[in-house]
């Protein structure tokens, strides 16, 4: 599989950010009680991810070559600003979504997936196009995982679950099954 397609599909399925790389778990467990909220947060994340990928490429190419030790600080500042701007845009143009997402919108800043994307993009030396494709794959992968978990949890809410498994216990075991299922994508696209 060619480079870009491989980057996209491997990030989306084989090395899914949530189910294989353990990134973005706070929102994975926190926001997945309803499908609608879940995929909308996934979309917001994807947006932030793509902007971050571009900013990170700009930073790496023009600023951080001489000062690699400022990497973490620079990335997190960029991410925080991006989320702030996205928050303002959503507040202005999509107020219903803004109210629905509530606290989880500013919490995108602390979503390990965003900073994780920035770090992976840097260590793998992706150029601009590869970085953007990577961000799309990661964002869609997050959305996919969030939506799957939300659909399962909506069913679980009306199922007869023993008291001890209520809340986190069963959710984590479901996550384990989802992660196992995604491992079936291993070997996709390799020669």
């Amino acid at each position: 599989m060619s480079g870009l397609a491989w980057i996209f599909f491997s990030t989306l399925l084989v090395n899914n950010f949530t189910l294989a790389m353990f990134l973005g778990l706070c929102s994975f467990f926190g926001v997945t009680s309803k499908i609608d909220t879940a995929w909308r947060l996934g979309a917001a994340n994807t947006f932030v991810l793509v902007i971050t990928a571009v900013s990170v490429w700009l930073l790496n190419t023009f600023l951080l070559a001489r000062t690699p030790f400022l990497r973490t600080i620079a990335f997190i500042v960029v991410i925080a600003s991006t989320v702030q701007i996205v928050e303002m845009i959503i507040k202005k143009y999509l107020p219903v979504l803004f109210r629905e997402l509530g606290i989880y919108l500013p919490l995108i800043t602390t979503n390990c997936a965003i900073l994780g994307l920035a770090l992976f993009q840097t260590t793998r030396n992706y150029n601009l196009i590869e970085g953007i494709v990577f961000a799309f794959g990661a964002g869609l992968g997050l959305t996919l995982a969030l939506t799957l978990m939300a659909s399962i949890r909506e069913r679980m809410d009306v199922a007869d679950v023993p008291a001890m498994a209520k809340r986190m216990g069963l959710v984590l075991i479901v996550a384990s099954c989802l992660s196992m299922a995604f491992m079936g994508f291993a070997g996709l696209g390799s020669q």
């Binding site: 790389m21 353990f22 209520k166 986190m168 384990s176 491992m183």
Partner: protein
């Protein structure tokens, strides 16, 4: 606020033992009743990602503890000088600084561990535990209490990491801390050191906790009935 009650003179009738000092309460809550992973459900990303071996889990726990204590102390020390508008920005700056320091120190003197932990050391910066404690606590109390709370939370986090990673490494590689425990005839259950195994381990721990809470609630109800 409870001030420690001095020891009672012996000729008084037996009274309740003096409540433990505030600092100790701050410290202990992070380990038990407010454990960041098991109770507050924060910091799950590193708890699962680096817990496939005890060495890695321990290293992550120590690094997080270091960042937590240093940043809590500094944030608390300068809390009166940071205006509200730049609060979050300053916290993140301070935390990111200490994370960078920890990252460089690990890369220099423990390079193998640094490579194994990979990007998860810089990811400590977005570990919800640190920012969460800074917002909720360190920015509002004095340095002594902030540090006590930080040590408690850090040790609580390390405890959670050790539990999960010991379980995963023992079953998944047959070893602990790199020392082969289960012998050469043991066929390692590799699933445990892979992502689904991480979810499963934490799920089992939460199931156990749910069972305990359910049982205690039932007993309380039966006790009342």
């Amino acid at each position: 606020m409870n001030a420690p009650i001095p020891a009672l003179p012996p000729d008084e009738p037996a009274a309740a033992p003096p409540p433990p000092p505030q600092l100790f309460l701050d410290f202990w809550s992070g380990i038990g009743q407010n454990n960041p992973v098991f109770v507050q459900m924060l910091g799950l990303c590193p708890a699962l990602a680096v817990s496939n071996s005890v060495t890695n889990g321990l290293a992550m726990g120590v690094a997080t503890l270091f960042v937590l204590v240093c940043s809590s102390f500094l944030i608390s020390a300068v809390r009166n000088y940071i205006a509200n508008e730049v609060r979050l920005c300053s916290y993140i700056l301070i935390i990111a600084t200490f994370v960078t320091v920890a990252d460089m120190v690990l890369a220099a003197w423990f390079p193998e561990i640094s490579k194994a932990l990979g990007p998860f050391i810089p990811l400590i910066v977005v570990n919800c535990i640190i920012l969460g404690r800074a917002e909720a606590f360190a920015g509002k109390v004095g340095p002594a209490r902030a540090v006590a709370d930080a040590i408690g939370m850090g040790l609580g986090f390390m405890l959670a990491l050790l539990m999960v990673s010991a379980f995963r490494e023992l079953l998944g590689s047959g070893s602990l801390l790199g020392f082969n425990i289960l012998g050469p005839r043991y066929e390692p259950w590799v699933f445990m050191v892979m992502p689904p195994g991480g979810f499963l381990t934490l799920g089992l721990i939460f199931l156990f906790m749910g069972w305990r809470m359910d049982r205690d609630a039932r007993r309380a109800k039966e006790g009342k009935a």
